[in-house]
């Protein structure tokens, strides 16, 4: 019988050469007369080990990584695809501590399956949640999500069940489910991993959301920077339709849910839900005033659930295993699991899913293993380009919504970007303003003009021109942006700027 060998087809794995590795394995096996079946699985998110090759030994999977095409002859010499005595051999995948110590709910299937195989998906609890939901009243589904304590994973952390309740309670002839897959924050890739490694989980979650609130149409708004993801989702939607999991009568229930993939066009602001809705309507992605909330007047003025990929992904697990199971993970008001992404200058980067409660230091030093450059960590930006830069004094903060807010930070979408001691924090502060200037939708003045002035003022501070005066102007400008901007883009841009100034003043005075 052919030996099953898994080589991920995830975007990062491909960027590190996994296509060539898969080819080389096929050729080498053929040359040696070994019968193999190369399966392109999803990544487990241990990107530091990619390309991570796994062999089904009949008794667990043997892992090897990171593998390059040049390693393949040596691996076969050493006994691959059997138990090989080779420097890249990691033992069984269950023994890889970086993965084994995680608590994976949302990413439970990632890496184990061929992402596009519905059989693989269903063999690991896939569509169990939908089957349960089909037998429940809409209110009961919403109650289950409420009881789970799930809060939006996109950044704002709004309770998902309450949002759904509003949509359920708003009468309308048409309602919509919109998945925000415009994962624009630097240092985040968990949405991408979920969509590429386990696309049916998102599709199932959206279908359940449709049943819960009475919506028959859904849209995934995916950023154009993710072409791999587009290919996977397009095919997954097609297969789900064909198998009757999407369409006019889901699983023969007579209930309809249609799903369409839409591609953004390179605008960070479209990750903000109202801007995303305008973009879906074919307009410029301008921020809308709130109220009305999208849950009441959303897409085309109809009640709309707008949720992040991970929030909708969690829903299928919550329905399959019950609200209590999910809620039992976590701490305080942060329930369930936390997904963080270790990025930037980090030795062991990737996606880590844990119950809430670990500290930033545990993540960066423990899982991350410090910097990739080997130099000391100097600053950590948590929560994307609008998140604060944290100096060492704050690294013991617990990673949950409330603890980070207490020190003036935010968890956002869980991006953790590490910088070593060569970083120039004045340049990072300047970049925050520059990014806002490039990506502002332009609707409100504090964001549109404030960001441009912000770059200029920071340049004058760096050049030591009327330093004290310009620092006062910058402070005033930051106040205006925080208090006067319509959305988080202008309102949060001062956070990285001010934290850089406060914690690393020496960089502004060289």
């Amino acid at each position: 019988m052919a030996v099953k060998i898994y080589v991920p087809k995830d975007a990062t794995a491909c960027a590190l050469g996994s296509d060539a590795v898969a080819d080389a394995i096929g050729k080498a096996a053929q040359g040696r007369g070994i019968e193999v079946e190369v399966i392109r699985n999803g990544s487990r998110g241990a990107f530091w080990l990619e390309p991570l090759v796994e062999v089904d030994s009949g008794d667990g999977r043997l892992a090897f990584g990171p593998v390059t095409p040049e390693d393949i002859p040596g691996l076969f010499e050493a006994g691959f695809p059997g138990e090989a005595d080779h420097i890249l051999a990691l033992g069984t995948i269950d023994g890889v501590a970086w993965l084994a110590s995680q608590q994976r709910l949302t990413f439970a299937r990632a890496g184990w399956t061929d992402p596009l195989s519905l059989d693989d998906y269903c063999s690991l609890e896939g569509y169990d949640g939908l089957r349960k939901a089909l037998k429940m009243e809409p209110q009961a589904i919403v109650d289950e999500v409420k009881e789970s304590g799930l809060r939006g994973r996109g950044g704002a952390a709004f309770p998902t069940g309450i949002k759904w309740q509003t949509v359920l309670d708003t009468p309308a002839d048409q309602k919509y489910i919109v998945c925000n897959a415009d994962e624009g924050d630097s240092g985040t890739f968990a949405d991408r991993l979920l969509m590429e490694a386990d696309p049916y989980q998102l599709i199932e979650g959206m279908t359940i959301a449709g049943l819960a609130v009475g919506a028959t149409e859904g849209f995934i708004y995916l950023r154009s920077e993710y072409p791999h993801c587009k290919a996977v989702l397009t095919e997954a939607i097609r297969r789900a339709e064909q198998a009757g999991y999407l369409g006019e009568s889901i699983c023969g229930s007579g209930k309809a849910f249609r799903l369409e993939l839409r591609i953004g066009a390179g605008a960070y602001i479209c990750g903000e839900e109202t801007s995303l809705l305008d973009s879906l309507e074919g307009k410029r992605g301008l921020i809308r005033f709130k109220p009305p909330l999208p849950a009441i007047k959303g897409l085309m003025g109809k009640p709309t659930v707008v949720n992040n990929v991970l929030s909708l992904g969690a829903v299928s697990t919550i329905l399959a295993r019950g609200a209590e199971h999910y809620r039992d993970f976590g701490t305080g008001r942060s329930r369930g699991t936390l997904t963080v992404q270790l990025a930037g200058n980090i030795r062991r980067g990737g996606v880590v899913e844990l119950p809430f409660g670990d500290s930033l230091r545990d993540l960066v030093e423990g899982y991350g293993g410090g910097t990739a450059s080997g130099r000391p960590v100097r600053a950590i930006q948590v929560g994307g380009p609008l998140g604060t830069y944290l100096p060492e004094a704050h690294w013991d903060v617990k990673l949950d919504y409330e603890s980070l807010a207490e020190i003036g930070g935010m968890l956002g979408h869980g991006g953790i970007v590490v910088f070593d001691d060569t970083v120039d924090m004045a340049q990072q502060a300047r970049f925050a303003m520059e990014f806002c200037a490039v990506e502002s939708c332009g609707k409100c003045t504090p964001c549109r003009i404030g960001s441009v002035r912000g770059v200029e003022v920071i340049d004058r501070v760096i050049a030591n021109q009327e330093r004290k005066f310009n620092l006062t102007v910058l402070d005033d400008l930051c106040d205006t942006m925080v208090d006067g901007s319509l959305c988080a883009m202008g309102g949060l841009t001062p956070y990285p700027v001010r934290s850089a100034l406060k914690h690393f003043p020496e960089d502004f005075n060289r």
Binding site: C14, S186, A265, G266, L280, K283, R284, G344
Partner: protein, 159 residues
């Protein structure tokens, strides 16, 4: 009307037909046109406007708002260099400088031989293995200056 205008009109009519009736058909329409032609020719704007019953200003506004849409022809290969924080932490600032020098163009520019167009991008979702570069639809990880050089040389040799 010359023949290229006729074929452009036919192409736009067929693209619009595919997306007609959809909510917010304009973005998918613009994407389709750009996928086929590499850019959105300015003369297509009034045609799209008529087909979708929108004003030319609305279409111009949408094209101008999104970074992806272009009204000028681009090079054979589009190179996106990630400028965002995670890549900065791994040397993206040096890489963008090197890339610009190596190709002899700034962001937004196209090489004289029409081979490469250089574009900035803010995150490619490959932040655990930075710096990241996207060439057409292929993603590349841990791109140092020598690796960038290799990638470009390989494409230059491809004629």
């Amino acid at each position: 009307m010359n023949s290229s205008a006729v074929s452009l009109r036919e192409m736009i009519e067929s693209v619009v037909e595919t997306h007609r009736g959809k909510i917010g058909a304009l973005l998918p329409v613009l994407h389709s046109i750009q996928d086929q032609l590499g850019h959105i020719p300015p003369e297509s704007v009034p045609m799209i406007a008529r087909e979708l019953n929108l004003s030319r200003a609305e279409i111009q506004g949408v094209i101008g708002f999104y970074h992806d849409f272009r009204t000028e022809p681009v090079g054979e290969h589009i190179i996106h260099i990630c400028r965002a924080e995670a890549c900065q932490a791994m040397g993206a600032r040096d890489l963008e400088e090197y890339a610009s020098e190596r190709l002899g163009i700034a962001y937004g520019g196209t090489t004289a031989d029409g081979k490469f167009t250089l574009q900035p991008v803010y995150c490619l979702g490959n932040c655990a293995c930075s710096p990241s570069v996207r060439i057409d639809d292929d993603l590349h990880a841990r791109v140092t200056s020598p690796k960038f050089d290799e990638l470009i040389s390989a494409l230059e040799a491809q004629d």
